[in-house]
């Protein structure tokens, strides 16, 4: 990709207004707070209707939801309250634009879509706090109605107050697996089982690292204990085999949807009836905006994916562009708050503006120390909840990898075999994997695993899907209302 280096426009003083923050989760809010404290008035662009991000997602306003923060956020209620209040008090001092999708990035300019209007947003400095999405790994039956990602299942509960099904199994691995199961069971949903692909022994081995965040570790232990105490079946070390049910339009009696989940443990087959499955293997940093902005990427072994390169402060390879929060590498909400502030401090330093002194907010050096400590905890999490080894080896040929374009594992393997493809963008070009509405956001990782397995390479060697605007599908109609549409120059009027 093009490196768009070069210094940002020189500005001085506190009237600086071209700082833009993308994302209003814990990272974006703390970044905004820091910039405002230094006298700036940043623009805060958020795709969500209300601030808080994913972990501190708020239910819709004025929709009659009355669940308390304690109910919604549990142990995290106080943090949620603090983050929400911080943003509330910032509102008069920032240009806050909710429900605003950033869909493209030119050098020093974002393109946004809001309420059917399309607006370019110039920036001199940009903090990307774009968060994460679920890391999706398929298994046979994953396209059945009733299969959700863990994060999607959590959003349904948190924002809508509803469960994904009457009898739910949560499967995969990662801390979110237990948290969502706990939240569902606590809310009164019928949780039939939690199926963790990681071995209990691995979690035991990771304990020393996990104890670097004792309270977080304790919460995890508490969730598992609570689930068991309330009769929820919790299985470790499973190998997920398939989800069974009927696709819409199948000529099987009864409604479309999930019927059961099958797995292996200690060489034995197991099956459990259920009507919905929440599936997830941790989170995947959302890096498309950094990619479109021209940031250099490196493979990160901890996150098992390519990430934009950044220094300890969050500076990317592009001057004036900073990363914070899970979009820069999964580290959780506490780290996001710290990283948001740290990136804002870096921005101020690069501007030549003095760091503001704020109560309860550490300085740059102590933030970096704390982030390093959290990284140790993150290593423990990855040790405890590792991705299944060589997941693609189990995927049958006829399983769909890319549901938008209906591309099967067989098609991908054939392409590797016949064309000798060894790089993911080449696989995309030749097979259409990742070319549908999701543009690889859901299937890209699975396609990389299939490619790595079929070509005998490590995951890092197959490369990464390059981002292509729009970051999410956008309606065309709003583009037609822009008063400042360019005309196509005479010399560019090809046929």
């Amino acid at each position: 990709m093009i490196e768009r280096a070069g210094p940002p426009p020189a500005r001085q003083g506190a009237d600086f207004t071209d700082a833009v923050i993308v994302g209003a989760g814990p990272a974006g809010i703390r970044a905004a707070q820091t910039l405002v404290a230094a006298g700036l008035r940043p623009i805060v662009l958020d795709e969500n209707p209300r601030w808080g991000g994913q972990i501190y997602r708020q239910p819709p306003a004025h929709a009659g939801f009355t669940r308390s923060k304690q109910t919604l956020y549990g142990f995290e209620a106080a943090k949620a309250e603090a983050v929400h209040n911080a943003m509330s008090s910032l509102l008069p001092h920032v240009d806050y634009r909710p429900e605003t999708l950033v869909w493209a990035c030119d050098p020093r300019r974002l393109h946004t879509m809001h309420e059917g209007r399309e607006t370019p947003v110039p920036f001199s400095h940009l903090i990307i706090a774009s968060g994460a999405t679920d890391r999706v790994l398929p298994l046979p039956g994953w396209t059945l109605p009733g299969v959700y990602t863990l994060g999607g299942a959590q959003v349904a509960l948190k924002a809508q107050g509803c469960a994904i099904g009457e009898r739910v199994v949560f499967a995969g691995t990662g801390p979110l697996l237990y948290l969502v199961a706990y939240q569902y069971a606590k809310a009164g949903a019928n949780v039939a089982a939690v199926l963790d692909t990681s071995a209990f022994a691995a979690q035991a081995r990771a304990t020393p690292r996990l104890l670097s965040q004792p309270s977080t570790f304790a919460k995890g232990v508490y969730y598992v204990g609570w689930l068991r105490a309330h009769g929820v079946r919790v299985e470790h070390g499973v190998t997920l085999d398939s989800i069974e049910g009927a696709e819409a339009g199948d000529d099987i009696d009864g409604a479309a949807g999930v019927r059961a989940i099958r797995w292996l443990r200690d060489g034995r087959e197991h099956s459990l009836e259920c009507s919905a499955v929440g599936l997830g293997y941790g989170l995947r940093p959302e890096t498309q905006l950094a990619d479109l902005a021209g940031c250099r990427f490196v493979f990160d072994e901890l996150n098992r994916c390519w990430l934009p390169a950044r220094d300890a402060a969050g500076r990317t390879s592009c001057s004036g562009i900073y990363l914070a929060g899970d979009g820069a590498g999964i580290a959780g909400a506490d780290a996001a708050e710290l990283a948001g502030r740290r990136a804002a401090l870096a921005l101020l330093e690069d501007l030549g503006v003095a760091a503001p002194s704020m109560p309860d907010m550490p300085d740059a050096a102590s933030i970096e120390r704390k982030l390093a400590g959290i990284r140790r905890f993150r290593e423990g999490i990855e040790q405890a909840f590792a991705l299944p080894e060589a997941p693609a080896a189990r995927w049958p040929d006829d399983m769909l990898v890319c549901r938008c374009e209906e591309i099967s594992a067989r098609t991908l393997r054939e392409c590797v075999r016949v064309d000798g493809v060894s790089e993911i963008n080449r696989l995309k070009a030749l097979t259409r994997v990742g070319m549908g509405r999701c543009q690889g956001r859901m299937c890209g990782e699975a396609a990389c695993h299939v490619l790595a397995e079929a070509s005998g390479q490590a995951l890092a060697q197959v490369g990464r899907l390059r981002a292509q605007a729009p970051i999410k599908p956008i309606p065309i109609a709003p583009m037609l209302f822009d008063e400042n549409v360019a005309t196509i120059p005479e010399e560019a009027r090809d046929e």
Binding site: M1, I2, A104, D106, H111, E118, P120, E405, D419, E423, R426, A429, L430, M435, G436, R437, Q439, Q468, A469, P470, P473, I474, P475, I476, A477, M479, L480, D482, V485, A486, T487, I488, P489, E491, A492, R493, D494, E495
Partner: protein, 388 residues
């Protein structure tokens, strides 16, 4: 002269694995020559693979028609030549008139093209509305050429490269040519694979099919042409119900559109941005082309845009390619600078290049594409002429 130890020798070396180079490699290998194709990245990953996919004779300047008609016949033979049809659909190409005054030149073009055996029909008025109810007010008539169509550019070049390899050509991807010279007898090249040892290559013929980068080789032999990089701006919608019956263009240019079998509408027009090496689509251009596209295809208004892209292509001052023998160096043949219109032509150009190597001439008129036709221009044109 004795060869360096370890030097690979070929009858023909081809620089650049786009559709021109890959189809030339296939044609030459079929004729029994020992061929090597060097591609610094992947075959067909540059302009040949990211273009609109139009297989269009209609609207071309007269001097391109003999070559275009020859190339068009190759497209019908793709399954026999490369084992796939490349998703080529002879859907017809409808060249639209945005105003009544555009219809007269469409008539004139149809009369001219008929002399080359190409049939197109100009449709206007009530019949136009009746036949194309899915077209908006932005079009008042159009010329329909039913032998034209569209194909999937991502598939065609790699398949030609694969077919060339199956016929014995030595196709080397991720292997840029790092130096090239003529020692008075043969060409001497070095190529540096991304992995592995430097290759020393000698060859009797050298085909310069390096697309937007072809001036590196042309310049080495004193034949730099005033070509600059252009970055076509492309986008695609989500799959929609089938409604676009033909591949579409407009008289005077600006927007082109087609709908693939799966239902996605592929639309191009205007320029992205780039630095000569990499290209990016431009949101401003996409927005501008959307307005033109929706005037022609109102159903697009309700669609979702899912992807935009660009690529790097070479454009010459007269929008014609450079095809033919070098004027400075024996057995050097150029074919580049297709100026955004090379996808249809390329498989035909591959045959023409094979003619030149095996017979020293071709029956297809290519004089208009001579490499020295820009010689009267100031040499600096090639560096100063850039789109803003």
């Amino acid at each position: 002269m004795s060869e360096l130890r370890g030097t690979l020798h070929y009858d023909v070396a081809i620089a650049g694995g786009g559709l021109v180079g890959a189809s030339a490699a296939r044609a030459l290998a079929e004729r029994g020559l020992k061929v090597a194709l060097f591609e610094r990245r992947y075959c067909g990953a540059q302009a040949s693979g990211v273009n609109y996919g139009g297989v269009r004779c209609q609207g071309r300047p007269e001097e391109q028609l003999p070559l275009a008609m020859r190339a068009r016949r190759v497209w019908d033979r793709l399954p026999a030549l490369i084992g796939i049809d490349g998703e080529f659909i002879p859907s017809g190409h409808l060249r639209l008139a945005r105003r009544e005054s555009d219809l007269e030149p469409l008539d004139a073009w149809a009369a001219m093209a008929a002399n080359y055996g190409l049939t197109s029909t100009v449709i206007r008025g009530a019949e136009f509305r009746r036949r194309f109810p899915w077209l908006g007010e932005g079009a008042v008539g159009g010329s329909l050429c039913m032998s034209d169509g569209h194909a999937n550019p991502r598939l065609v070049s790699p398949a030609f490269a694969r077919a060339a390899r199956a016929l014995g050509a030595d196709v080397r991807e991720r292997t840029p040519i790092t130096s090239v010279a003529h020692d008075g007898v043969r060409f001497q090249l070095t190529a540096q694979p991304e992995q592995g040892e430097t290759l020393h290559v000698s060859c009797d013929w050298l085909l310069n099919t390096a697309g937007a980068w072809a001036n590196h080789i042309a310049g080495t032999f004193g034949e730099r042409v005033p070509m600059h990089a252009i970055y076509p701006n492309m986008w695609v919608t989500e799959p929609l119900p089938k409604f676009v019956g033909h591949s579409l263009g407009v008289y005077g240019g600006g927007v082109y559109a087609r709908q693939v079998e799966r239902g996605n509408c592929v639309i191009g027009g205007g320029r992205g941005t780039g630095d000569g090496e990499y290209a990016q689509p431009s949101a401003d251009t996409t927005r501008a082309v959307m307005r033109e596209a929706c005037a022609l295809l109102p159903a697009l208004r309700n669609a979702l845009l899912i992807r935009t892209w660009s690529g790097v292509e070479g454009e010459t001052p007269d929008d014609n390619p450079v095809i033919g023998m070098s004027r400075t160096t024996a057995r050097l043949v150029h074919a580049f600078g297709f100026s955004g219109g090379g996808f249809l032509l390329a498989p035909g150009v591959g045959e023409v290049l094979a003619d030149l190597v095996t017979h020293g001439e071709t029956i297809t008129p290519i004089d208009a594409f001579a490499v020295d036709r820009f010689a009267h221009r100031p040499h600096s044109a090639c560096v100063t002429q850039q789109h803003s």
